[in-house]
Symmetry: C2
Subunit: 339 residues, 2 copies
DNA sequence: TTGTATGCGTTATCAG
DNA sequence: CTGATAACGCATACAA
């Protein structure tokens, strides 16, 4: 590993001059030396030591991606296509902008904060976190951060968030079901915070427009990671009697249940209608394809990275809350009920 | 950001002593001071600066994951479930072992080498690379590396590889098809190097055991990224006439084609049999579920990380080539042809 | 146009 | 048991 000092000695120059050439500050160096230095640089495959550079400049060129892992610890979060698409999109954009991405997945916020501080991360993208967690982070991590899919109240804290029109998505999908004659709709989520809660609010609003109220029993919460268990799936088979449609908060869950029910002999949409959310390949891979709500994850990932870098460069206000649009994608998993 | 120096001053101690306490070298420090230091450490949320530590120790605690990206640059590699499961598994294990993962995806080996050297990465996991690329890396990166799914010749260079019984997988699947009466089998891959080539060799061996030879036209190579284009898919529809089975090198491709053909009115397996490779959720999500070859990606990822860390600790030989077993998973996408 | 000197935060050597 | 001091590689303010 050849260093600036090595080069300088070989050339009989100072490290300053070599460093200047490396950084293209050629206005301060004579043509001759520039050429001599560059030649040697290439010859020896000089590569800067990032640790040293970061230490000297008090930066890191790292953008951290903080994710609070789910509780069942044996899970691999990247199996969720929403997460993997997001991570891939973020990674690509971060590298394109000359930064590096480091993943900080942990069930403990404290641990995440430690890592992030330790690496002196220049900026943070935070996903899957709600109020309390984010307050904790803000308390100890003072550099820029951009949230993805968080719902916080502006009164409490300044934040930048790249979100989605979740409420609208829930509303549109429910309205579509209602228009198709459905009156007994089961709404399924694995939590009632953040994103899913707002989708539920949209659901509720649509029902109310039709003079219907949300019965408690129609809200079905399945703990994360339990959807693929036999008990839960069997229960859906039983419930399919009672409902005319199941409305899921993710294509993933929708696809699993759709397959299970059809394997058990029910027909979608003839016996039961099913809808998803996300429009990822799960919704396209099953038959019938699932009617769902489209969101452009890659676009949102890019936006988050851009905003974060602008924040790092102090070119942009600290408070920002953008909601990306959603769009109903009608496919074959919903039946039209005639009176 | 509080530093060791700050703490030392506050306590009227030297940085050495504080550093010793931090590292649990308490045998060299009096009980009293240990306690005083630890109290302050906790009080001020002391977090070490990793850049400084790495610089001083000439290490990084980073394990790099080098992936040569495919040529069509707008793609997000993590959309491939094989990649995302692998990345997730590696990430989890790396963190568990006290290291951090950094992703280096690029179409240019030179760029990857630069990044890796620059960050002074302690060890490298290399995936999707064949002979020439790896030689280049070895030439400039002198620290430990573990390959995943590479086929190199031992004569040329020492390497550690975590592979799969690809040849056996190709053999078993083909034999299964032959036993079920199939004689016109199309073998589909997106390249003929590495993994897919060995699967093909197994395919060939099984055919030969049955006294059949591999006709050139039965080997169908679809350029990566083209599988989902209409032209290619239509072509499979036409080809379905001629073959009784399509044997794919990945569940991903198998699932896409299976859905397309059924949407066009063919029946799987009645009209055409289809097999996959990997046993990931693509093979389970479609109907009929796809007969495939199982591999345990997470297990392999873990193994790779363990071996790499042992290599870093110099506990293990530099040459290693392990092949994980495969297993036929019989499901419903292959028809039995009676004479 | 080039060089000197210093600091970034930590670890490690060696002396007290 | 504790403390000076140097070293890691680079960037930069300031001098020459």
């Amino acid at each position: 590993m050849v260093t600036i000092k090595d080069m300088a000695e070989m050339l009989g120059l100072s490290t300053t001059t070599v460093s200047n050439v490396i950084h293209g500050k050629t206005s301060e160096v004579s043509q001759m030396t520039v050429q001599r230095v560059q030649k040697l640089l290439a010859e020896y495959d000089y590569v800067p030591n990032i640790n040293a550079r970061n230490l000297a400049q008090n930066q890191s060129k790292i953008i951290g991606l903080a994710m609070k892992g789910s509780l069942h610890k044996y899970s691999n979060m990247l199996l969720d296509p929403f997460i993997s698409e997001l991570v891939g999109a973020l990674e690509g954009e971060i590298r394109k902008q000359g930064y590096f991405m480091m993943l900080y997945i942990s069930t403990s916020i404290e641990e995440i904060i430690q890592y992030v501080s330790s690496w002196n991360v220049d900026g943070l993208i935070v996903t899957g976190m709600q109020h309390d967690d984010y307050i904790k982070i803000k308390h100890r991590y003072k550099k820029p951060a951009v949230l993805i899919d968080s719902y916080l109240s502006k009164d409490v804290i300044q934040y930048a968030n790249v979100g989605l029109e979740d409420e609208t998505g829930g509303y549109q999908m429910t309205k579509y079901l209602l228009e198709n004659g459905h009156r007994n709709i089961g709404f399924i989520a694995d939590n009632m915070t953040g994103v899913d809660y707002y989708r539920f609010l949209g659901h509720k609003r649509a029902l109310e427009e039709y003079g219907l109220s949300t019965k408690e029993e129609n809200l079905i919460i399945i703990p994360a990671g339990k959807m693929e268990t036999q008990d839960v799936l069997n229960d859906f088979y039983v419930k399919a009697e009672k409902y005319s449609a199941f409305m899921f908060c993710s294509d993933y869950y929708a696809a699993i249940v759709l397959n299970f029910l059809q394997d058990r002999g029910l027909q979608v949409p003839e016996d039961i209608s099913i809808t998803g959310f996300d429009n990822n390949y799960f919704s396209r891979m099953v038959r019938p394809m699932i009617t769902t709500v489209n969101q452009d994850i890659s676009q949102r990932g890019k936006q988050a990275v851009h905003y974060l870098i602008d924040l790092i460069d102090e070119k942009v206000p600290k408070q920002m809350d953008i909601k990306f649009p959603v769009e109903l994608v009608i496919r074959g998993s919903v039946r039209k009920i005639s009176k």
